[in-house]
């Protein structure tokens, strides 16, 4: 157990991939066994992540769990194998480990072919996401960020809809284009800093002329904005979402998009504070456009899944707006909104998947009167819809309220106008979601032989209810008591924003973790101490 005590994060990150590789080696005939093993493994990872990460007091440097060892030095640049969980990524890590087993359970019978390989890809993807979330060295972050593309590419491309090849290629190349240019910026900065430690890189960046800082920030921001996705870099998203199998859509919306926002708050903003302040206004403008545009486009969609995909563009616009406000409340709102969106949109994609599995269509016009045939399903869909709209007492309300509040008080010239425009996005959200809900669930039952409603014979079964219940509980919990999920990030966010807005000299929120004192801990616990090899 000693190895595990010293390397809890390594275990959390790589255990899914190892399991995935094992499952890949199983023969096709054992697909169902692989699915069961994969689910149990993912569930175990979730339980372990909860027990290891929650209820632990962060150390003086704010780290909950950390590992650090020097990995290699190539071409004169040292790369540290540095992983850490702190207030910024704690809940995103848990969201990831939570959504993976839940999605596997929720899409248990959706796929018929090559189940084992699909589960393996899913687990490899989990490793990629967790690795990117906990990486504290930009090279390691880059590795996970890129490696994540591979399993997602296959998930869309092999198990997707009719246009899957186009969507998978577009997803892969679009994301790659951003990250390759970002790599050049990364190399440029690493060259100045003598390594990939974010703190040293931030220090090196602050010594560069402002123009160069601006270009570097743009390279970082574009890579992350493609992932978010921020208007006008969002065009890959509707294709990928619609073509991906349900599980792929859930994870794409639930976690992958979050990594873009997380990249801003973890790296782009703290490393280039001046440039971030300088470009906050254009980013806020694009976010507002994303909010309104995404909502307007969602309104005219005929395909429920596509509607949810465009609603993602709109919701992630809120996240970016909160980050761009450069206020504590706005940024905290963005942190919460990322979790909200993961839960609500994940739930929406799961529900749409359940509907599709029964009716084999997702066209709004094919439905009508579903409430009569599937009352339990309708109840869940309604709750999730309301959460997505941002009804008070559901999670969506708190995040959007804080973001709008933060934007209103942000102090940049057009902040109040942006807040007003973004508020119209909330209204439009209610319009497209409720209108869709009305057409699908209410009204007279669609008796047409070819209609979707006609093919609905069974309501949700126990497994599907078991999947939806925790999501609904979270929706309410996050709406009533968001502090549970947002308390951890308060200290780091406040420190970061103070640091950015303070007049020189900067103190660098990103401290090299090497010098930090370990927290008090019981020796046998998987503790928050640095590992030196």
């Amino acid at each position: 157990m000693t190895w595990l005590n010293l390397h809890p994060l390594t275990f959390l990150v790589f255990a899914p991939a190892l399991l995935g590789l094992l499952l890949m080696a199983l023969p096709h005939a054992l697909g169902k066994l692989a699915r069961m093993l994969g689910f149990l493994g993912a569930l175990a990872i979730f339980i372990l992540s909860l027990s290891w990460l929650l209820g632990r007091t962060p150390n003086a440097g704010g780290l909950i769990l950390a590992e650090r060892a020097s990995w290699f030095t190539l071409v004169g640049l040292p790369v540290d194998y540095a992983l850490a969980v702190d207030g910024l990524n704690l809940w995103l890590v848990i969201l990831t480990t939570f959504l993976v087993p839940l999605t596997m359970l929720g899409t248990w019978n959706s796929l018929k072919d090559r189940i084992g390989t699909f589960v393996a890809m899913f687990l490899l993807l989990e490793t990629g996401m967790l690795g990117a979330l906990v990486a504290q060295d930009l090279f390691v972050f880059y590795l996970f960020w890129e490696a994540m593309l591979i399993p997602m590419y296959f998930m869309i491309g092999v198990w997707g809809g009719d246009e899957r090849r186009y969507a998978a290629n577009k997803f892969f190349l679009y994301t790659l284009s951003g990250s390759l240019l970002w790599l050049v910026a990364l190399l440029y900065l690493a060259n100045k800093a003598g390594g990939f430690n974010p703190a040293l890189m931030a220090q090196a960046a602050s010594a560069l002329p402002f123009g160069v800082q601006g270009w570097l920030f743009i390279a970082f921001a574009v890579a992350f904005a493609i992932k978010v996705p921020l208007f006008p870099l969002h065009t890959w998203l509707p294709d990928a979402h619609v073509q991906a199998p349900t599980a792929g859509s859930v994870i794409l919306a639930g976690v992958l998009l979050k990594l873009g926002g997380y990249g801003f708050i973890r790296f782009a903003i703290p490393m280039f504070p001046q440039a971030a302040m300088h470009y906050a206004q254009p980013i806020a403008l694009l976010s507002v456009i994303a909010i309104v545009y995404g909502a307007l486009v969602a309104m005219v969609q005929r395909d429920i899944k596509k509607l949810v995909a465009y609603s993602s563009v709109s919701h992630m616009g809120f996240v970016m707006l909160g980050l761009a406000s450069m206020t504590v409340i706005g940024t905290q709102g963005a942190m919460l909104q990322m979790l909200n969106h993961g839960i609500s949109t994940g739930a929406l994609f799961l529900l749409v998947g359940m509907l599709y599995d029964r009716a084999h269509t997702r066209m709004i016009a094919d439905f009508g009167g579903v409430a009569v045939k599937m009352p339990i399903f309708t109840a869940f869909f309604l709750i999730v819809t309301l959460s997505s709209i941002g009804l008070p007492l559901t999670n969506g309300f708190v995040g959007e309220f804080w973001i709008l509040n933060g934007t209103f008080v942000s102090g940049f010239g057009w902040g109040r106008l942006y807040a007003c425009l973004a508020t119209s996005g909330v209204l439009l959200g209610a319009v497209y979601m409720l209108w869709m809900f009305m057409r699908v669930f209410w009204g007279p039952e669609n008796k047409d032989e070819d209609s979707g409603t006609h093919h609905l014979h069974t309501d949700l079964n126990a497994r599907e209810i078991a999947v939806m219940l925790p999501l609904v509980v979270l929706i309410v919990w996050m709406g009533v008591h968001p502090k549970t999920f947002i308390a951890a990030s308060e200290a780091p966010v406040t420190a970061l924003l103070q640091d950015i807005k303070a007049p020189a000299p900067r103190t660098f929120v990103l401290k090299p973790a090497v010098h930090e004192a370990p927290a008090a801990h019981a020796p046998e616990a998987p503790a928050a101490h640095e590992v030196h090899r």
Partner: protein, 499 residues
């Protein structure tokens, strides 16, 4: 004349494959070789034994750290690196060709003999700074390759490709020879490092004739690495060749040409800094052209072998970027890149044999759905293609990483941006390979044909593919071990370039 042990030590790695090459034709004298499977087995066994002995001997030299020499022939670390590189490529080629030639129904002993002669020439080429041995090596490895391209004489297009390769190659060789002659004429010595010293001492470094000589030498190298505009032969020659031979050409020819270039330009001709700078500028321009043309042309290929040919052209572009950066770290990156490139390209060509694609049936259409039928091969294919595209965590990423990093560090940010954009373009055509393997079902026609044909049986090629995949993955996770233990030592201890 009796040789000292040290001189023998320098010669043996070359003599062993040459000996094998001489023995094999004696066995091929049997007229019934097409039927006598055991004779074929003995021939292939001999060839494998020859390269294995050479490999064993070279790794032994590497371990002891000895750097013996035989007059102008220096079996130093760099030559040992190159020797190991060549014999590994040759061994993979021999194993793959057993399966491939049986699939084609064309098993001849001379193929192996030519291959071994070529390998000998390659080792000679990278072990010398003396112009005569250099040229000897160049011709010794090139001429057998011209014949190997056209080796399946039953196919007319094979002969066409071989002829085209021969004619263009002969022109390049004569240019190379002319370059050496000019430098010899000015300096009065055939040893290139001595010649550089003489030219510098006499103030002839920027003499037009010396510049022309250096440029012609460079042209010879660039032809062998198939850099634009000397790349025209590549797709035709690869398409005409048997798959394993195409793999061998793409890897070994390019590899030794880059290693020899490393020995001659940054090292031997180092005193002529002005010439070096001019040549670097030429390489920079051609690298850009190679990257752009190679990648864009690869996009529109429907034949996998032609795609891989243009891909190999574009990889020459990345490797040339290493010379544009020109730092020792960049040169280390070039050597590391070559190791990974060996594995991923031999693996990619090996896949064609492992999938049993023969003759002209090597289009993307022919690959459809095969990844699911042969999962292990499919997995390896994904490793090779993602590595060729430079996606982490595969080894190919680190090769590009090292070269791009040095480009940025030496102020060539624009070149680095161009390089990553070229990578982006390349990702598309490498994905096409995977799209065909995994994302497309086989056409009904192909299914019908497949049910008529016997199942593909290519255990040796399959094994080489798995070995190559393991090397590529090792390059992704143990990259520092390969770089520090292998590539860097070849440069530092072989050429005396200090990091």
């Amino acid at each position: 004349m009796s040789l000292t042990p040290s001189q023998w030590a320098a010669l043996l790695p070359l003599l062993l494959p040459a000996l094998g090459a001489c023995l094999i034709p004696l066995m091929a004298l049997d007229k019934d070789q097409a039927t006598a499977k055991w004779i074929r087995g003995v021939m292939y066994g001999t060839a494998l034994l020859a390269v294995a002995a050479s490999f064993w001997y070279l790794t032994d030299l590497w371990k002891t750290g000895a750097q013996p020499s035989f007059f102008q022939l220096r079996m130093d670390r760099l030559a040992q690196f190159s020797g190991i590189f060549v014999v590994v490529a040759a061994a993979l080629t021999i194993l793959q060709s057993w399966d491939h030639f049986h699939q084609e129904g064309w098993v001849k002993g001379e193929t192996l003999s030519l291959l071994l002669f070529s390998a000998t020439g390659m080792m000679l080429f990278t072990a010398s700074t003396h112009f005569v041995t250099l040229f000897l090596g160049l011709e010794l490895f090139s001429i057998p390759l011209y014949a190997l391209v056209g080796t399946v004489r039953a196919r007319p297009e094979s002969a066409e490709g071989g002829m085209k390769y021969f004619l263009t190659g002969a022109v390049a060789s004569s240019c190379f020879l002319m370059g050496g002659v000019l430098i010899y004429g000015l300096s009065g010595t055939l040893d290139l490092s001595a010649a550089a010293g003489v030219l510098k001492a006499q103030g002839l470094a920027l003499d037009p004739l010396a510049l022309t000589g250096a440029a012609l030498l460079l042209l010879g190298f660039l032809f062998k690495v198939s850099a634009v505009p000397f790349h025209q032969w590549t797709p035709d020659a690869y398409e005409a060749s048997p798959h394993p031979i195409a793999g061998f050409m793409s890897v070994a020819t390019k590899g030794v040409a880059f290693i020899a270039l490393l020995r001659i330009f940054p090292s031997s001709l180092a005193p002529l800094t002005a010439v070096g700078a001019k040549m670097q500028a030429v390489v920079a321009v051609l690298a850009v052209a190679t990257l752009v043309l190679g990648n864009l042309t690869a996009l529109v290929q429907s034949n996998v072998k032609r795609m891989l040919a243009y891909s190999s052209i574009s990889h020459a572009g990345y490797l040339m970027l290493g010379f544009v950066a020109g730092t020792p770290a960049a040169h280390t990156g070039v050597l590391f890149y070559l190791v990974i490139y060996l594995a991923m390209n031999m693996g990619a060509f090996g896949l064609l044999t492992a999938f049993g694609l023969v003759g002209e049936k090597t289009t993307f259409e022919d690959l459809r759905g095969l990844g699911w039928k042969r999962p292990a091969m499919g997995f390896a294919a994904a490793v090779f293609m993602l590595s060729l595209a430079g996606i982490p965590p595969m080894g190919g990423f680190y090769g590009k990483y090292m070269i791009f990093r040095e480009l940025v560090a030496t102020g060539h940010v624009g070149m680095a941006v161009l390089g990553v954009l070229a990578s982006l373009v390349s990702a598309y055509y490498y994905l096409r390979f995977l799209v065909a393997l995994f994302l497309q079902a086989p056409s009904a026609e192909a299914e019908r044909l497949a049910s008529d044909r016997p199942a593909v049986h290519a255990p040796l090629a399959g094994a080489t593919v798995l070995v190559c995949a393991a090397i590529v993955l090792a390059g992704g996770f143990l990259q520092f071990a390969l770089v520090d233990g292998f590539a860097k030592r070849a440069l530092v201890e072989g050429l005396g370039l200090i990091r």
